[in-house]
Symmetry: C2
Subunit: 264 residues, 2 copies
């Protein structure tokens, strides 16, 4: 994930000096499906298989692990070739290509027509506030050093009182797609898990979580208003500003057990 | 930029309570050129005219302010209609549509062929390290409250010892595009300015700066390795970890005056 490079370190007191520093890597990762180029993502070169599968799932190219006939990932040339049972239709590629956005490749969902494919999360899973806060602290610690030095985003999936998967990427989207890809590859049930995110929550995170079926999203940062509206519509519990012993709950609070053994 | 919403605030000590909180807004902003839909960006609803113009410039749809024949921005329905002297070619739209990425809509530049259109920045502008650090602190202060509550990114343009423009957005890219759009609309010379960014620097920021011709980029966060390589290739001075009295210089250090009146 890192590369070493020669830099100049300057301080007003001590002046300039040469220095060897670690820099976080960023690579162009190309995903082809049945030899058709689908996308090139700028990503951190880790968990590329998970990233390819998560991306294809979130973007609607595959529905489950069983849609994948074969997958080749080259971790050196940053390429994934995925074979799928069904051919990719020109419409799928077109849809994916029609609208790009700053940080929102899922923007196509904002057409009412696309929305019908994203269903509310149907899960009566509950998690204790105490557990969520404890895991958030653990997650925070896990990501901190790396974020400080490398400026990457983290995402983690929790089950019970454990973090069961953890991913990092220079892209907020990629970190979540890596988690989603892992869920699909390992055929893990998402319905009783919750997602921890290091950064702010914009609408796309909600769409990703809804598409895979994760019922709770937790971040130490803020959500946007569109994220909150989507959370309500998609029946996802959205928790922001989870820090220390506090959290803000923006939607579906009934999934958070706030006192020992009973709900609010 | 904000909306108020009813949330539940929970603390382990005090339990749950209803609360009215400010949430940062996120809107889908559609840009049409000569009635052809070019893109829908997820953005913060401020400086939308600058965002439209900056986006079209950075993506290669326009070359300067004089390419624009008319521009209509609706700040309520989040729409910009831009008329340009030249028609948009299907190739331009296609190019823009071919490759989407997590947080990297400029990814098309990563084809060698596209690269020939991005020239190194030709500027013998120099800035004092002391001035840069002072303005970084001012910028930091300016963005802090908002970032804390809203989780947005900031970008600013500096001339001499002053911040001359400042933009915020939920998208890192959009914040920079707003600055670029302002430069183009006001026909400001970018060659003797420097750019301050609140977040980490990935490759796309370098391409944006090169395209408009800004010679120095400064952030309090880390750059990626690809950003550093591009900075060298595009002759842009890249400064990271600018905090307090310190900074790291990754490329073209000759533009930074590190001691009173003379270079290193």
């Amino acid at each position: 994930m890192f590369e070493e490079t020669e830099i100049i370190r300057f301080s007003l007191k001590e002046g300039a000096a040469g220095f060897k520093d670690k820099i976080v890597r960023e690579v162009p990762f190309t995903i082809k499906v049945n030899n058709e180029e689908v996308s090139t993502l700028l990503a951190s070169p880790s968990d590329l298989k998970e990233l390819a599968v998560g991306y294809l799932f979130v973007e609607g190219f595959i529905e489950s692990q069983s849609d994948i006939t074969d997958i080749v990932v080259n971790e050196r040339s940053f390429f994934a070739g995925v074979g799928t049972k069904n051919k990719i239709t020109p419409e799928q590629l077109q849809k994916n290509r029609v609208i790009t956005s700053g940080c929102g490749r899922n923007i196509s969902f904002y057409n009412a027509e696309d929305f019908k494919n994203v269903l509310p999360v149907d899960s009566d899973f509950k998690a204790e506030a105490k557990t969520i806060l404890g895991l958030t602290a653990e997650f925070q610690k896990k990501s901190e050093t790396f974020r400080e030095t490398g400026g990457v985003h983290s995402a983690a999936l929790c089950e019970g009182d454990r973090i069961i998967s953890f991913a990092e990427d220079i892209g907020r989207h990629n970190a979540v797609d890596k988690i989603v890809g892992g869920l699909i590859l390992k055929k893990i049930d998402p319905k009783n898990k919750f997602l921890l995110l290091s950064g702010r929550i914009s609408s796309e995170m909600l769409l990703k979580a809804a598409r895979i079926g994760i019922p709770i999203i937790v971040s130490r940062s803020a959500p946007t208003d569109m994220a909150v509206r989507l959370a309500k519509r998609l029946k996802i519990t959205l928790v922001g500003f989870a820090r220390g012993s506090k959290m803000n709950i923006y939607s579906e609070p009934e999934r958070i057990v706030m006192k020992e053994g009973k709900d609010v």
